[in-house]
């Protein structure tokens, strides 16, 4: 009788051993390996052109771009500005021209020299609508460039007080003219060339980018020879990455996990306030046209309690759209938590807990840490003073659409980033009616903010924004809630310099 078994025990064991050996070759090894650093990052790089398309204006991608490219002007961890590829920059006395000096001795990753022509070409390209640079409204305000040695002069077509701050912000990267024209957009995507501390060595879309230190970098040499940035979009997986030792650093994880991880041996953390705030937009419709309702809604919110209970203390309560560290922050403007005052204000308008004022508040769920839970808590606080708000959950894409068409509900939760800390990019654009991002459109505010966009005297401009912030707080046109804190967890043998802008730069990581 023939035995029909197709696999003997010995054969099975042999095959198992072979398979195990094969898989073991794919077993993870500890991430940090002498001169190698591995970062589990929360967002994948979508494009290697940091000046065009949606990726260019995504603040979360700037960290990776800043490892490979340099901006016209640099920014220090505390938001102050420092020389980048420009060593000097200024407006003329009458603000009709600008002068910029290009750093000497800078090399591109392909070995070519950085020239003033590269800088001018980058600025012209950024202003060209056909390139798809989303920030043309800034770059189109200068033109008629002239080069003399390392010095560039240009005419100011329309005065923009924050022009040089924009040169340290979104899409303000210098690209190599000759190389880009030689390889074209597709070639550049496949082999990006910058002047930054790291060169792109390997890139798998959606998976990882491997960076190699650029030996001819003009600044301080980065500590790690190789940096691998894994794109791990799921926060639970990022936690597992750092906990298992597969990655050396991760960020944007839940605060509960942050507290748990930094209590473990071998892991440390930094949690610093960043230029990202949580706020409630109020729309000038329905019951929100009643000042008493607006102010009552603001005074009824115990922001510190929300931070303590929901965000485990990681957050800074704010009363204006200018957070601590911003140029126009004024700590004297405080909207106190005062539920009794809220009741009085509502009573003046005929509302009470028995006859509550009703409106809808929109929020995302999971887009920002505890966003929905925060709004639930706020609605609970409102209910106690006589405000009955119905929560409507939507996706962030819907928020953008409604905001651009000015059709948001009377109240809508949102977060606002402002990496350069200038008041025009926070209070200015979020509260100036004609801006597609503003929700409150009353003429009084337009009249107050409009002139500040072109105010040439910097002191007057900043003071003007402080005055506007005070006015907004008094009128209750918006409800600022808190400044977010970004948690970073890293291996204890590393030292990480956190940036207030929210950037996590591999060149700012060293061995402790």
């Amino acid at each position: 009788m023939k035995e029909l078994s197709t696999l003997s025990r010995r054969g099975f064991l042999g095959a198992s051993a072979a398979l195990s050996a094969l898989l073991v070759s794919g077993v993870p090894t500890l991430a940090q390996d002498g001169s190698n650093l591995t970062i589990a990052y929360n967002l994948p790089v979508q494009s290697w052109d940091p000046t065009t398309g949606p990726a260019a204006v995504n603040p979360a991608l700037q960290s990776v771009y800043l490892a490979v490219f340099d901006r016209f002007i640099g920014q220090a961890p505390d938001l102050s500005f420092e020389p980048g590829l420009l060593t000097d920059w200024s407006f003329s006395e009458d603000k009709s021209t600008i002068t910029m000096t290009v750093r000497e001795g800078v090399k591109w990753h392909n070995g070519a020299d950085l020239t003033p022509e590269d800088v001018v070409w980058s600025l012209k390209r950024a202003a060209n609508p056909e390139t798809g640079n989303p920030m043309q409204f800034v770059w189109g305000k200068i033109g008629n460039f002239a080069i003399d040695g390392q010095v560039i002069t240009a005419d100011v077509m329309e005065f923009e007080p924050a022009l040089f701050k924009w040169m340290a912000f979104l899409t303000a990267f210098v690209l190599p003219k000759a190389y880009y024209e030689e390889v074209g957009p597709e070639g550049f995507e496949n082999a990006p060339v910058g002047t930054g501390p790291y060169m792109v060595d390997a890139f798998e879309q959606g998976a990882y980018v491997r960076l190699k230190a650029f030996p001819d970098y003009w600044g301080d040499a980065p500590e790690f020879e190789t940096v691998t940035i894994k794109f791990v979009t799921d926060s639970a997986s990022r936690v597992a990455e750092i906990e298992s030792g597969n990655s050396d650093i991760t960020t944007n994880i839940p605060y509960e996990e942050y507290d748990r991880l930094i209590a473990k041996d071998g892991l440390s953390g930094e949690a610093v306030p960043i230029t990202d705030i949580g706020m409630i937009f109020l729309n000038d419709i329905d019951v929100m046209t009643d000042k008493n309702v607006r102010l009552a809604a603001h005074h009824a919110i115990d922001k510190q309690l929300i931070i303590d209970r929901l965000l485990r203390g990681y957050g800074v309560p704010i009363s204006t759209l200018e957070a601590p560290g911003y140029a126009a922050y004024d700590d004297s403007i405080v909207v106190e938590y005062d539920p009794e005052l809220s009741k009085e204000l509502l009573a003046e308008s005929g509302y009470s807990t028995d006859n509550p004022v009703k409106f809808t508040i929109q929020t995302t769920r999971g887009f920002k840490p505890k966003d929905y839970e925060m709004i639930q808590a706020i609605v609970g606080m409102w209910r106690k003073v006589g405000i009955e708000a119905e929560i409507e959950v939507y996706e962030i894409a819907k928020h953008y659409e409604l905001r651009a068409t000015d059709t948001l509900a009377p109240a809508a939760f949102y977060n606002w980033g402002n990496s350069i800390g200038d008041p025009s990019t926070s209070t200015g654009f979020s509260m100036f009616g004609p801006s597609p991002h503003a929700v409150w459109d009353t003429q009084d505010l337009i009249d107050k903010i409009g002139p500040l966009f072109v105010e040439p005297d910097e002191e007057k401009r900043i003071q003007g924004y402080k005055d506007v912030s005070k006015y907004i707080a008094e009128e209750g046109y918006v409800i600022p809630l808190l400044q977010y804190v970004m948690p970073i967890v890293y291996a204890s043998d590393l030292s990480v310099t956190p940036y207030t802008s929210g950037d996590l730069l591999p060149q700012a990581v060293s061995k402790s």
Partner: protein
């Protein structure tokens, strides 16, 4: 007969794909979220908005946009991704191998595991072993694939870190891929480090996808085997002196496998659908992961391209299952 079946199925495939195209195109445009609104910078003017709208072709009417898109699709041009700024066809085809390799590995695991449990259950039928296997299958089936993923991450990624949690291959491996079929190409080029790393990265997501399907296969196949084992021809085989295991493997399995094959075919399409969440969890760079990014970013051309590819995959797989069923079942072949 078979040729006629194939021709009819190809014709219905084309009609189905056209229907999918219409539905997908309409749905992604009426769904909340305007991609242009998502990329507006703080100081954008009306003119800036108009420029961006025109740049991405959203200034035209919906039917006009559809005609432009469809005429491109029939020529293989699915447009350009808004976020990734590359041709959609190039992007989806570059990610397809990752999802296919993962799905096929999951299928292998499911069939092997499910088949083994079914044969064991049939061999030990009406015993405590069978009850235990039934209970286990039920428990496995009740846990969704993404939850299995989290369990595996905790077990083999954190508590006993022997497997990679994220990605498709160790980023430190230097290998210039000609195709994106890492396992296949690694094997053909003798790069076993590549094969090992890829399989090591795929094991947890593949197991997560495979377990529910394995439990389904185990239950159905075991039931079919038990029915077959009551029939005369299996009794005759036993009388001829074959062991019970041999009877199952040599005689009963072939007949019992046919209904299971149909199930596997249908469930394989669901398994591919399941890759969307599992790939996300394991940061595995397949089509599913790309689909989630595309939806978050309202990258309309990319969403359309991915859905069309998924639809085509489903149709092709179902067609293949139907044809193989026809080939394996003499009654259908000669009917």
């Amino acid at each position: 007969m078979l040729l006629r079946t194939v021709l009819i199925r190809l014709l219905t495939t084309a009609i189905t794909l056209f229907g999918v195209a219409v539905v997908v195109f309409t749905l992604v445009r009426v769904a909340p979220g305007n991609p242009i609104a998502m990329m507006l910078p703080p100081g954008a003017t009306e003119q800036d908005i108009a420029n961006l709208t025109a740049l991405y072709g959203f200034d035209k009417s919906l039917p006009h946009q559809f005609v432009i898109w469809l005429s491109g699709v029939v020529q293989g041009d699915f447009g350009t991704s808004i976020t990734l700024r590359r041709p959609v066809s190039e992007l989806v085809l570059s990610r397809l191998p990752a999802t296919l390799e993962l799905s096929v590995m999951a299928l292998f695991i499911a069939v092997a595991l499910g088949g083994f449990v079914a044969v064991l259950g049939a061999r030990r039928r009406n015993s405590a072993t069978e009850v235990g296997l039934d209970l286990s299958s039920g428990a496995v089936l009740s846990i969704p694939d993404f939850l299995w993923g989290l369990i595996f991450v905790l077990l083999f990624g954190v508590l006993w870190p022997v497997l990679s949690i994220s990605g498709r291959i160790d980023p430190r491996i230097e290998f210039d891929f000609t195709t994106n079929y890492y396992v296949l190409e690694g094997l053909l080029r003798g790069r076993f480090d590549v094969v090992g790393s890829t399989l090591g990265h795929m094991l947890m997501p593949a197991m997560s996808l495979a377990l529910p399907l394995a439990a389904m296969i185990a239950q159905l196949l075991k039931q079919n085997l038990k029915e077959e084992l009551l029939k005369d021809y299996t009794t005759l085989t036993r009388v001829r002196g074959f062991t019970e295991t041999a009877v199952i493997l040599r005689e009963a399995l072939r007949n019992a496998a046919l209904p299971t094959l149909a199930l596997v075919g249908v469930q394989f399409t669901f398994l591919i659908g399941g890759t969307v969440i599992v790939e996300r969890l394991f940061a595995y760079e397949g089509l599913g992961n790309m689909a989630i990014d595309a939806v978050i970013n309202r990258d309309l051309p990319l969403i359309q391209g991915i859905v069309m590819l998924f639809a085509a995959l489903f149709i092709v797989i179902n067609l293949a299952v139907d044809l193989s069923y026809t080939l394996l079942n003499p009654r259908l072949r000669h009917g």
